[in-house]
């Protein structure tokens, strides 16, 4: 059985040009980066970062994040959302500031979900 990705190719993005329209986009990041929080058991939480451009090496980003935030983290592959970063704990503000300061995304490209 063939997946959609194999049949049509993952690289084609029909909305690529639409999101690029404003022209002043400097970085390679396009579209929103969603930063979410997820409940685990007890008072534990998990932060997921979805939508970082594939031009970046997420493993290196995770490595830097782990060191910076003093938490563990991993990169998981998802058939629909691509590579997603998972970090332990509520790192939403940390990761937002990190992505901004490092220049991966601008303020308006980051969408922080959760309370």
């Amino acid at each position: 059985m063939t997946s959609i990705g194999q049949t049509f190719g993952n690289s084609f993005d029909p909305f690529k040009e639409a999101s690029k329209e404003d022209g002043r986009q400097t970085g390679v990041q396009e579209g929103l980066i969603h930063i979410r929080i997820q409940q685990r058991n007890g008072r534990k939480t998990l932060t997921t970062v979805q939508g970082i451009s594939t031009d970046y090496d997420l493993k290196k980003i995770v490595k830097a994040c782990k060191k910076e935030f003093a938490c563990n983290g991993t990169v998981v592959e998802h058939p629909e959302y691509g590579e997603v970063i998972q970090l332990q704990g509520d790192q939403r503000n940390n990761i937002r500031d990190f992505l901004k300061s490092i220049g991966i995304a601008r303020e308006e490209q980051l969408k922080v979900h959760g309370f």
Partner: protein, 339 residues
């Protein structure tokens, strides 16, 4: 002590500068009598502009006339040197009466004084001074006018404005060559705005008032959103839609129980729920064009559209997505289920 001395000295120097160029001229004359001969040539060139300025600037203070007189004869100046202090004492009050120009003139004078030393063309610096003074006066007048505008901005200004463009052009800067300042333009645009829509003056705009959500703890790991259905009614939104958004944003599960309160898994306080609700209102309740909360949410071919009742705009809104969900449960159980 020495500092004080120097200070006083500086002050006197400044005063002199303010008053008239005599001190400079004198010093310059003393030091550079020789140069004076050389410096005379520039004067002949001056007359054209000088005359024009003279015509423009006729209503000037006595000080300038005095200074011009000094400019005429160096020797006179020398002679007058001893009297300078007295004259200054006399002239000071005049200056203070003219009040506002003084500080600006003082600062500006530093430049011309140097020129004087170089040129020794007394009339030329005098002119410069006058020119600058004039500008200062204009600005001051304009500022005063602006102040006046602020005071009675609703009365005379408005009427003048309405009467025609001529008055708009007749703003403080229109009569002169100088550039308008940012503040002037700003006050002007706000005047026009207030004039065109008087409603705005009364209150910024109708604020969208929401009742705060009542969030209580239920047991240790659940929260109850007590007035959930009431808030949905206030927002004119289906509880189902609000629920979906809340749960997707919070990344938890929950349900509406028997007495219409929402039970959410996880510990949340009122502030947190309020934040999420605010985001919901921003995205799905207020019109994206006019910000009016008077909107309808319609589902059209699997897409949600926000129809504004006030301005009639209609735009699609993002669908509620919970996005990526990491595996947090027991992996073995999931594997057992799928396999």
């Amino acid at each position: 002590m020495s500092e004080e001395d120097s200070l006083t000295f500086d002050l006197s120097m400044k005063k002199k500068k303010k008053k008239k160029k005599t001190p400079f001229d004198v010093d310059a004359a003393l030091n550079e009598n020789e140069v004076a001969a050389e410096a005379t040539p520039p004067e002949p060139e001056i007359p054209d502009s000088e005359e024009t300025h003279a015509t423009e600037l006729t209503p000037q203070t006595n000080d300038d006339d005095l200074s011009l007189d000094f400019g005429g004869m160096k020797k006179k100046k020398k002679k007058k040197k001893p009297f300078d202090m007295d004259e200054m004492a006399e002239t000071l009050p005049e200056k203070s009466e003219s009040s506002e120009p003084v500080p600006t003139v003082e600062t500006i004078d530093a430049g011309p004084s140097e020129d004087m030393d170089e040129d020794l063309g007394f009339s030329l610096p005098a002119k410069k001074k006058k020119k600058k003074k004039k500008v200062d006066f204009e600005e001051l007048v304009a500022e005063e006018e602006d102040d006046m505008d602020d005071d009675d901005l609703l009365d005379g200004r408005r009427d003048e404005r309405v009467s025609g463009n001529a008055v708009v052009d007749g703003r403080s800067w229109s009569g002169s060559d100088r550039d308008y300042t940012y503040d002037e333009l700003l006050s002007r645009v706000f005047d026009i705005m207030r004039e065109k829509n008087p409603d705005m003056v009364a209150g910024e705009k109708k604020k969208f008032v929401m009742r705060p959500p009542q969030v209580l703890k239920v047991g240790t790991r659940k929260s109850s959103f007590a007035n959930f259905s009431e808030i949905c009614r206030l927002l004119h939104r289906q509880p189902k839609h609000v629920l979906a958004f809340l749960l997707a944003e919070l990344g938890t599960s929950g349900s509406v129980d028997g007495n219409n309160q929402l039970i959410i898994r996880g510990k949340y306080n009122q502030k947190q729920i309020e934040n999420v609700l605010r985001r919901y209102i921003k995205e799905y309740v207020t019109c994206h064009t006019c910000r009016s909360p008077d909107t309808l949410l319609q589902k059209d071919t699997r897409l949600f559209f926000l129809q504004c009742e006030t301005c009639g705009s209609r735009c699609s809104v993002a669908s509620i997505k919970s996005g990526f969900q990491a595996v947090t449960g027991k992996r073995a159980a999931i594997r057992a289920k799928t396999a």
